[in-house]
Symmetry: C2
Subunit: 249 residues, 2 copies
């Protein structure tokens, strides 16, 4: 475990309130490793031996069933994933692979389970992390069940705009086929949906999104704190990363 990664991990909501002594104990058992893009880190169904922390790069969480596959989210620095499986000592429900060259820290799950039993502040942090992650997935499930494909796209774009300080122009951070999978549709359908949304106040050209009529788009998507935010509350792999704003000159 290299020293230079410790501060950024220490600042994670999950670890920032625990006793230094316990944090250091936890980190003594940690591995740090760099992976190329496209490397599978976790296979769903495998025993949860490690908690993963993304220090650099990006990791896609996805789930498979037979030949089908669906993106569940993307983890960016600094965030952790598969916390719940480690706690329950149960098989991972999602697979993970790097989208870019990434630096990953792995904490042995038994150490994790031991530490929150003797560090209340850490236990409280874990509780908050899990409660937030739960709420994020509930929102995701609500979106899938209550909105149709075009409404999900519109709400997603509006949410991305909000993350980019309500900028009217911004750049998508991940491939469209990944966004499509995350939103529960095929890439073809996302493509067509984006085209159709041009009449609802948003134009997309390549990776660049421009909100042309915010009121109209807002009326169409009917965004809602109970479905779209205000903010990602937990990091356990159930949302996509925020975009970068394009600020007008």
């Amino acid at each position: 475990m290299r020293i230079d990664e410790l501060p950024s991990i220490r600042h994670l909501p999950l670890f920032c309130n625990m006793a230094t002594e316990n944090f250091e104990a936890l980190m003594r058992g940690a591995y740090s490793q760099s992976f190329p893009a496209g490397m599978q880190l976790v296979e769903q169904g495998a025993p949860a031996d490690f908690l993963f922390i993304v220090v650099e790069g990006a990791v896609e969480m996805y789930a498979g069933w037979g030949k089908r596959e669906s993106t569940m989210g993307v983890i960016r620095p600094v965030g952790c994933f598969i916390l719940a499986a480690c706690i329950k000592d149960a098989p991972y429900l999602m697979s993970a692979r790097t989208l870019q060259p990434s630096k990953i820290v792995m904490l042995p799950a038994p150490d994790l389970r031991a530490v929150f039993r003797r560090d209340t502040e850490f236990a409280v942090s874990v509780i908050n992390e899990l409660a937030g992650a739960f709420r994020t997935v509930i929102r995701h499930a609500k979106g899938l069940k209550l909105r149709d494909a075009r409404q999900r796209i519109a709400a997603y774009l509006l949410e991305q705009s909000r993350y980019a300080d309500n900028a009217n122009s911004f750049v998508l951070q991940v491939e469209k086929r990944l966004i499509a999978s995350y939103l529960g549709m095929t890439p073809e359908n996302l493509s067509r949906g984006l085209r159709q949304l041009e009449t609802e106040g948003v134009r997309v050209k390549g990776m660049e999104v421009t909100v042309t009529d915010r009121d109209r788009l807002t009326e169409f998507a009917a965004p809602n704190v109970l479905l779209d935010g205000p903010d990602p509350e937990g990091s356990d792999g159930i949302c996509l990363p925020p975009p970068t704003a394009i600020h007008p000159v």
Copy 2:
């Protein structure tokens, strides 16, 4: 707070490991109340003032968006709901209403948050509850994204059969329109789906389900621990209650 409900609550995984002193402190602030069927207990968006515990009866968790509504799960005795919102001190993401006359215990959320800070065993129980609930919703979301409607129905019936000790005949515990909503489809579609599944090894007549060809149904549904169980891991309103088996004479 009546004395006679305490033992069953005390036996909940959430409370069974905490210090008696802390449990009693928690219960001193609790209200117990009986409600008729069809009573709305919680409205999504409201501040999370209470943790709810179902002592008798049944409670439906559902979410709405505009005019649409979707069932997220049913809580039966003895189970709790909206734990995550109480912990985050954030608005409820789901509404709740009684399906039957029900006896409900309500714990003030601030008490809850105070107690797990000073009772590590309780904190660990909360962690396990939330981790389980998270995994249950992830499974639900995976099912929605990876399976089509008929496959979801088949998997649901097979899961119900498993809960009924792998009985080949059992009785559904909730209205079909509620099951339909939970599975993310209209009642009409569920009805047609059930009809079509007669060629895949299961027959449904009224509320009674009979598995006529388990191998065939299993092949069709391709059930999987990463999607369907083994068991509900958390109770926070994201699954439907198990059926009762009909044992052959």
